[in-house]
Amino acid sequence: MQTVKMVVTGPFSAGKTQFIQSVSEIDVVATERRISSDEERTIKSSTTVAMDFGRITVDEDLVLYLFGTPGQKRFDFMWEILSEGMLGFIVMVDSTRPETFREARSILETFRAYAPTPFVVAANKQDMEDAWELDDMRHALRLDKNTKLLPCVATDRSSVKTALLELLYSILQEMESGK
């Protein structure tokens, strides 16, 4: 059995767990704990402290694992461990919470420093009225024009599939260009 993995990262409450749940064929193995800080508790009641774990079986010989990182900075020691051996990564950003954009930039730069693997940025909650426009998010997140910034709704399977496919296309493109 061959296995490969992708990492889904992003700030606290960006929608990483939901993203994985939307496409995983197994119930996501989530290591969630109740939130301790009042500020964070107002956003959601529990969070991922170690990792989420989802699976997509391709055939009897190949399985793709999706790992979701904990979003809170105090668990960032997990990021490097989770990023080892990944094909690429997806940075989830909540389009309605500009207060998380700085952290998203920081996470993105941290992961880029780990390894030169392809990545895409998924702008979650683009269906919400108060979501920032993609162009504004691109500048706020300091993404260059070649970085894929994809509209996403983590609860919508087709939207999640598109994000995964775009990452795979980027991986393939990089392999073909011989980088």
């Binding site: 061959q2 496409v23 700085r102 930039r105 009225e129 920032w132 504004d136 260059d144 795979l168």
Partner: protein
């Protein structure tokens, strides 16, 4: 859709950076703790600014800059109440009181000063109104934002925020496509700019220039905010060994594997 948020999470320099890079037209409305500010832009350039109850009109700006005296200012206020700033400007130029340059330079200085004052606002709500343009009766300027952004970035002192913005000094810098013209840089900033090259990490640049980590972070943050440079992996950096990425070393098998993944996800 919305471009709104809180200054605690999104600073004025970051907003100016976004407006600059996106070439936005409209008005940034900032509700501070005690005052409200309106800063208007055309195609990413500063066009007009007003804060609180300040008049911000041409006569007031010229008076504060000592271009017209107190009695002239009073006379304008009494007699030219219905006149637009554009009409007033023409009148003053034709009467020989001021030149066109006097008007533009003093308005630029005033609007820049309004933005500078916003840098000190740490509490407040902002929104960007695409459809709100400066009042018709006021004179607009066209001022590049890069220098204002760099100036604002110099005021960022918190190490934690700088570390968030630039988590690793082992990344390198490269110039963006934006031209580096008419940008006022300090000596230390020029020292960093001189070494901007994908081959040089920020740590190396700091070491060469004897800058501390916080100093190099602050300078790079300003250059990033002004859209002059971007972070890249160092060109000569060794690729970390990642043997587990693919279960096979064979390139063709790796491509086949990716294509199988693509096929599987498409049919889900």
């Amino acid at each position: 859709m919305a471009l709104r948020g809180n200054l605690r999470d999104f600073t004025i320099t970051q907003l100016l950076n976004l407006i600059n890079l996106a070439g936005k037209t409209g008005t940034l409305v900032v509700d501070g703790t005690s005052e409200q500010a309106y800063v208007s832009f055309r195609e990413g350039k500063l066009a007009y600014a007003r804060v609180g109850r300040e008049d911000g009109g041409l006569a007031s700006v010229l008076h504060k800059a000592n271009k017209i005296n107190a009695s002239q200012y009073r006379a304008i206020a009494d007699r030219a109440g219905q006149m637009t700033d554009k009409e007033l400007g023409l009148l003053l130029i034709n009467a020989g009181y001021v030149t066109q340059d006097d008007i533009l330079l003093n308005l630029q200085a005033y609007f820049t000063d309004v933005v500078r004052r916003l840098f000190t606002w740490v509490e407040g709500i902002f929104r960007f109104e695409n459809d709100m343009l400066p009042p018709d009766d006021r004179i607009n300027v066209r001022l590049d934002l890069e220098n204002i952004i760099i100036e604002g970035s110099r005021q960022l002192r918190e190490l934690e925020q700088l570390q968030d913005e630039i988590p690793s000094l082992d990344m390198a810098l490269k110039f963006t496509d934006r031209p580096l013209t008419n940008v006022n840089l300090s000596v230390d900033e020029w020292k960093v700019v001189k070494f901007v090259d994908p081959k040089n990490t920020m740590r190396q640049i700091a070491g060469t220039n004897k800058l501390t980590e916080i100093e190099v972070r602050r300078i790079v943050y300003g250059l990033l905010q002004a859209g002059l440079v971007e972070l890249v992996r160092p060109a000569n950096a060794p690729v970390p060994p990642n043997p587990k990425m693919f279960p096979t070393e064979n390139k063709e098998e790796q491509k086949t594997l990716i294509n199988k993944l693509i096929g599987r996800i498409r049919t889900m």
